[in-house]
Amino acid sequence: MTSRRDFIKVTGAAGAGLVLGLHLEAKPRPGEAAARTFRPNAYLAIRPDGRAVLTVPKSEMGQGVRTSLPLVIAEELDLDWSRVELVQAMPGPDFRHLGTGGSTSVSTTWTTLRTAGAAAREMLVAAAAQRWGVPSGQCRTEKGFVLGPGGKKAGYGELAEAAAKLPVPKAPKLKTPAEFRLLGHPTRRVDGPKIVVGRALFGLDTRRPGQRFAAVLRCPVVGGTPKAWDASKALAVRGVKAVVPVPTGLAVVADGTWAAFKGRDALASSISWNEGPNGDFNSKDLETRMRAALDGPADAARSTGAVVPALAAAARVIEAEYAFPFQAHTTMEPMNATALVRPDGAELWVGTQSPNTAQERAAAAVGLKPDQVKLNVALLGGGFGRRSGTDFSTEAAQVAKAAGGGPVQVVWDRTDDIRHDQFHPATLHRLKAGLDGRGGLGAWSHRIAGGAVLRSWLEGKKAPGQAETEANGAWDLPYDIPALDISFAEVEVPVPLGWWRAIEIVPNVFARECFLDEVAHATGKDPLAFRLDLLGKRGQVKLGEEELDLARLRKVLELAAEKAGWGRTLPKGHGLGLACHAYDRRTYIAAVAEISVEKGGLRVHRVVAAVDCGIILNPDGLAGQVEGGVAWAVSALSSQITFEKGRAVQENFDTFPVLRLPEMPQVEVHTIASTEAPSGMGEPPVPVTIPAILNAVFAATGKRLRRLPIAPADLA
């Protein structure tokens, strides 16, 4: 794996390597009515009673995969949606590369799931046609039934046994979008009814017989280790059973979460740490190092034309520095995992975005082979990339092994969750634009300095695709500029890094789209017209290995501007700003924000988003993702993690503020009807919303905010 793109290719293609027909034998699973269940592939089974059991190969973290993905199978298979049951895929022979991230859940499974459903449908039709002695062509399917000539009708359940004996078609006929009956219509979240009665089970809700609970006392400085401690006070807490050393610190094992927390706190009062080499790490010094790195060597992510001479020859050069801080994920469900470890095998219950990697790493940590570890994927109380990490699942396995006996649930409290996050890294950005005598943009340079998330994910290794990964959103800028130089200068940071909702694209598009706004204003052009000019009349263009359709980007930009009333007269203190991006070269999105600044306070009133993500599976789900992405973006204007003395300063929601309902802007979503293959929507709204808001601040106040979070003095 050499880049995040490869990471997505590998993990995203959950089961893509699974050839349909692999399970021709239709192996029954425990509790199934043996051979009478039709299981043509790993994604679906039809039981004799007609109920369809569909496998969800992605982790549900609010983005709606447990609704949208089964819907794809149900569409091609013509199932009765109200009679569908779901099972969550587990790492194992059927699924070797489970992974959820990068807004790729739909795009990477689309063809596989459609083919799985369509193949099963053809087999059921063939079984019915055989039974009735009619050609398959005279049969059709509807809501779980095959319908034949002369009013013949057979339920899928009664055909299951016969269908299971037929060959699996290799290239079944797929529906055309015009034939879709489920896709494209609003479908409610399947887990909604359980959520509203408190019966949706997240990782933290795991309850196993004999389960104990543990809290881990970790050194607040990354890499630090316990030097000396007195376990007696912790052991004196009622309910505390043991204090055991683990690689991440000291685990306090108890019969309840509260006792574990109390024991952990008692232990903390007695402990001294070897802080290790990172006790002096702080944000201020890091920024100095990042600024120095902007002048040092860097890895090119994209270089076309000769930027240095182009800038030297430019009639005018504009230059600016942008800064984005460290961020925490703060999923509402803090990190946790439950593990049972025996000498010959283990079982984990965990909300994870990386089931197979979690399985492999936990196995390695306790001396087992991956296949000896059964990993159950629970619902995720938020993921946002944090649960792509495997630190918490590996740690739970280590605690359970050290504690011995039955299952142990390791619970992180909010301070653990923030302080020991895998942080989105801080970055500094230096951008330069070279303008010719007529205000034409002839050269563009964007250098990014900061920590590399990919290296952290690869446990310290530098991959060849590192610059491309860290400069995502910067190197794939869609504008027609003759000379481009996009580069990444890695700065070593000691804290673990991880992908955040919309990953490196957030800071990179923030800097890119705000700076482009600066350049537009510097040339006296309207920011919308300036962008449209730079997109030009081109359609398909090649960027690296991928194709990008600029016509689709122009269309969403124009649509968002039109719906937001771009150019209209606004109340005093109000401003409109816009930004656009082709997210991972797949999802085309533009946002226009309307804000006001009054008495030094920023208020985001409205965000209008226009999106083209190809075929829309569930419009209601899509709108929810845009609303959520906007909320995430508005939060990012105020939150940050800073480090002092090797420690994250922020510890809870009082110092790491997250957007609340009263500040939520009105969100409008406009979509482009499309028959293109579907892409994703979980992340794309975030990186365009932030610069749209900041560009609106400039429009309203003339103040150019180049640094997040916004400080009160910035708008005073």
Partner: protein
Amino acid sequence: MPAFQITVNGRRRSVDVDADTPLLWVLRDTLGLTGTKFGCGQGICGSCTVHQDGKAVRSCQVPVKEATGASIVTIEGLSKDGSHPVQRAWIEEDVAQCGYCQPGMLMSASALLAAHPHPTDGQIDDVIGDHICRCGSYPRIRKAIHRAAKGGAE
């Protein structure tokens, strides 16, 4: 150490825990009612909200000794079958994303409606503004509360 007598969802329960144990952990770990969620442990995020004698409280901030004698209602007891107006409205508006914070939201929303059957946006801001949803389901929460107030109509 004496056991504490609390009434949860109409059932009297005797729990043998330390007096300072937050109600949250009594519900989740002692009584197995995991619908009430742990979010921040400091009463800032609202995920652990339950009703204590009809009022929305942060169960992570209520020591069990202070809940003795009180009637506690959790998300599991809000209705027998998910039919409380807020639960129905939450489904109608498809509010939840990950869903983790929603039990707390529902408990606060139902307490708000009990006190103010037709809450204003300002009243919704005041009550739900003390909660956090990281997924950003806020617009739908507001719509769902208004819908519930109108007896389920949009």
